[in-house]
């Protein structure tokens, strides 16, 4: 059984890049273009996802709100959530952590690092 990972980013190129890497590593990837879309994807998915990777700055609904919203759902109370940040934005990280994020990754990252972190979180 493939594990499902949701990637939420308003940048198509990053969605594709991360998505491709994860798919090649044997995961099933779902994509959302902003927080709101990410929630919709989760709601309409008939399976559960094992990991959510989300950007922070996004139109409509940003990453922090996405995390808060996801944590409200009992199914996703404990699912790991990784935030993507561009530089070390200390306050944002803390804010994300408070909202319930599991950790973060700083862009740019290489495929190897991404897979390592993903593996660490969901095995």
């Amino acid at each position: 059984m493939k594990k499902n990972i949701l990637i939420v980013d308003d940048s198509e190129s990053i969605r594709e890049l991360v998505g491709n890497s994860l798919e090649n590593a044997g995961y099933h990837v779902l994509k959302g273009i902003n927080g709101k879309d990410g929630i919709d994807v989760l709601k309409n998915f008939d399976d559960t996802v094992s990991l959510i990777i989300t950007d922070l700055f996004m139109p409509e609904m940003d990453g922090i709100d996405l995390i808060k919203e996801v944590r409200k759902d009992n199914i996703y109370k404990f699912v790991p959530i990784l935030m993507l940040t561009t530089e070390s934005q200390a306050e944002k990280k803390l804010e994300g952590k408070k909202a319930g994020a599991t950790g973060w990754m700083v862009k740019p990252f290489e495929e190897g690092k991404l897979l390592r972190i993903v593996k660490k979180v969901i095995g």
């Binding site: 308003d10 940048s11 198509e12 190129s13 990053i14 594709e16 890049l17 998505g19 491709n20 798919e23 090649n24 950007d55 700055f57 996004m58 139109p59 404990f78 790991p80 993507l84 561009t86 530089e87 952590k97 599991t102 950790g103 973060w104 862009k107 740019p108 990252f109 495929e111 690092k113 390592r116 972190i117 593996k119 660490k120 979180v121 095995g123």
Partner: protein, 688 residues
């Protein structure tokens, strides 16, 4: 990777135009915080994806820009005109360098530096540092001491501490010491808690950050100590490793100070030798990495669903061929009275129609991207001319065939330039006339019937019909006695060699242009009309077909020759007796008490027959206010015509826009209502 890169480039393009659009709006309302946030977010996204795609120069450059807008967002600095100007310049520069992020052109590279300096100069707390500090890459290994005492409740987060240790081990050679809390053996032991802690000696090329990253999820709850104990790879030195204590679960963990003591005991000679070794090792590593990257490239799976325009064109072509072939099948089935074949033919017809609709939809794109382009042009030109102009777009969501949008760029650009140059008055002039100081140009688009209309409206000085008339007489385009309606006078603008500009400027008024505009529009089966009121403004309307490749038409016949008339131009059909035509001398026919000029295809195409049928069909074409009747022998019915261009010998013909292949393999010419009407009207004028 290749296809992903094109996704990145396309995204960058989108972001550029988004930023441009927001900037233009910001110029008008510099305090709009949502716009500033929009610009900031777009830059942020651009920076993120650029860095992911390896364009660190682009990313760094955008980073500086982004910092400006971050400061604007935080009200640290004000959004000034110099900032906006610099951003526009930067966007132009970025558009260039995203294609070749290494900036191979030395002129560009110099400009890059200059712009970077300019942007940094705009920052609040600019300290003279150029570009954010780069991470120093340390190629030789260092040795770290890491102590990790997880929170006892770590398991309840779902974190497996062993995975963290494994990850540390991935960073380089390591020694791991584990110790278990004594309580593990006592009765108060809680199996849901973690009683283990680790001390690790790690030799790695990385700096401290990747090590910190390992613990990002647990750093707040667990006790973590990371300290560099040596600048060389101690684990590669037997002098050091031989002194290391054994890993004993029950013993006390060797602490930082114990290791530091061991480090001091290592002879200096061994340390320098190790440093040299690690340099050598690097070279080998480098080669291996390259190999690894290569093999990765091969595994890349194609998951992108972006399709190149060429492939869509090809699809559209093939579908057109399929529709033609299917028409042949339907015809054959009809003539052979085979019910099975008929049913199959019906099905194929249905399927190919659906397929055609789907393929057609795929080739439609929104016109907003094209509109957005003019935002910038309008701004640049109006600044150049010293005029202030508000540019409004409406109906950007209207969808059109990609080919049509492509061929609209030039004509629209020309029309907008004209409006800016000749239409909108100078500031002083406007104030004098009691108009708002700022001129307005509105570019809008909407559907009506089977057509899409694009309108360019300005509130400028309008076009003086009298002046056009005078000029046309002077240029011998018309004679003094000619009576022309207002619309006909405006149409003179489109005659080759006609220019109204008093002076030739950089922007427009070279006397070529409007005729080319008209030709371009006619080429895509569109039409163009001008309405104007002196002192109030000008409105130019382009009427365009939805698509270039397939049209809904009416199949008609004259003797054995077939013609297709575009359905969109047909108002009504009548049946008459042929005698009614021959009784008429001025090529006018009375339809519903209206005298309408007519065109007999039999005559025009020199189709001769001694005994033409008694009855004839009249098709009434209407284009704007002009009507014309076309006389044919009979009407066959509706027909989906796949348009094929006619050869170059027909390029100058007067009323055919293309040809189509019918089901039986014969060819039908597709009539161009606009050209027919235009020609007939000219003829009428001449004979009158």
């Amino acid at each position: 990777m290749e296809n992903l890169h094109s996704v990145y480039l396309e995204e960058a393009e989108d972001l550029f135009s988004k930023i441009e659009e927001s900037l233009l709006l910001l110029e008008k309302s510099p305090d709009d915080s949502s716009l500033i946030a929009e610009v900031f977010r777009s830059m942020h996204t651009l920076k993120g994806s650029s860095s992911m795609y390896g364009s660190s120069k682009v990313a760094d450059f955008v980073h500086n820009l982004e910092t400006i807008y971050d400061q604007v967002r935080g009200h640290e600095i004000e959004l000034s005109q110099p900032i906006i100007e610099a951003t526009f310049k930067s966007l132009d520069h970025l558009k260039k360098i995203v294609q070749a992020p290494d900036i191979p052109d030395p002129i560009d590279a110099k400009y890059h530096e200059k712009l970077t300096a300019e942007i940094l100069g705009l920052l609040e707390d600019y300290s003279g540092e150029i570009a954010p500090a780069k991470k120093e890459v340390n190629h030789s290994k260092c040795t770290y001491f890491i102590s990790f005492t997880p929170d006892k409740a770590i398991f309840s987060d779902g974190t497996n501490p062993l995975l963290l240790i494994d990850e540390l081990k991935d960073l380089g050679p390591s020694r791991v010491y584990t110790s278990i809390d004594k309580r593990l053996k006592s009765k108060s032991y809680d199996p849901k808690k973690c009683y283990t802690s680790w001390n690790v000696i790690l030799a790695t090329e990385d700096d401290v950050n990747p090590i910190k990253d390992v613990f990002i999820f647990v750093e707040e709850t667990s006790k973590i100590v990371i300290e560099k104990i040596s600048d060389v790879d101690l684990l590669g030195l037997s002098e050091f490793t031989s002194q290391l204590p054994p890993n004993d679960l029950n013993a006390k963990l060797p602490a930082l100070k114990d290791f530091k003591k061991l480090v001091k005991a290592v002879p200096a000679e061994a340390l320098t030798r190790s440093a040299e070794d690690s340099l050598h090792e690097d070279e080998v590593d480098g080669q291996e990495e390259e190999k690894l990257q290569k093999s990765h490239g091969k595994e890349e799976a194609i998951t992108s669903i972006r399709v190149s325009a060429d492939k869509l064109d090809e699809l559209m072509n093939q579908v057109s061929e399929l529709v033609t072939t299917q028409a042949g099948l339907s015809l054959y089935a009809e003539n052979n009275f085979d019910p099975t074949l008929n049913a199959i033919a019906d099905n194929v017809e249905k399927l190919s129609r659906q397929l055609r609709d789907i393929a057609f939809e795929m080739t439609l794109i929104q016109i907003s991207n094209l509109f957005r382009r003019f935002n910038r042009v309008t701004r640049d030109i109006s600044t150049q001319l010293g005029k202030s102009v508000k540019f409004i777009t409406e109906g950007g969501e209207t969808e059109l065939d990609k080919k049509i949008i492509d061929s609209l760029a030039d004509p629209l650009m020309h029309l907008i330039r004209n409006s800016l140059d000749h239409g909108i008055e100078s500031r002083e002039e406007r104030v004098k006339m009691g108009k708002p100081e700022k001129g307005t140009i509105k570019l809008s688009s909407y559907y009506s019937g089977a057509k899409v209309y694009i309108q360019i409206e300005d509130d400028g000085r309008g076009i003086d019909a009298q002046k056009i008339r005078e000029k046309a007489i002077a240029n011998r385009l018309i004679s003094k006695d000619d009576q022309l309606s207002e619309r006909e006078i405006y149409d003179l603008i489109f005659v080759p060699g006609f220019s109204m500009a008093k002076s030739v400027t950089d922007i427009s008024g070279r006397g070529v242009g409007m005729d080319v505009v008209k030709k371009n529009i006619l080429d895509i089966r569109g039409d163009i009309t001008v309405e104007s009121k002196i002192g109030q403004g000008t409105k130019i309307v382009l009427g365009l077909p939805l698509t270039l490749s397939v049209i809904d038409g009416l199949l008609v016949k004259v003797e054995a020759t077939s013609f297709v008339v575009p359905l969109g131009d047909i108002k009504k059909c009548y049946e008459i007796k042929r005698d009614e035509l021959s009784n008429d001398f001025n090529e006018l026919i009375t339809l519903e008490e209206d005298k309408i000029p007519y065109l007999d295809l039999r005559k025009e195409f020199l189709i001769k027959d001694e005994n033409p049928p008694e009855k004839a069909s009249i098709i009434l074409l209407e284009n704007e206010d002009n009507k014309i009747a076309v006389c044919v022998d009979s009407i066959v019915g509706e027909y989906q015509a796949v348009l094929k261009p006619v050869g170059k010998y027909y390029r100058n013909q007067e009323f055919v826009s293309g040809a189509t292949i019918l089901g039986d393999g014969s060819i039908a010419l597709v009539l161009d209502a606009y050209k027919i009407i235009a020609r007939k009207i000219v003829k009428q004028k001449k004979s009158a």
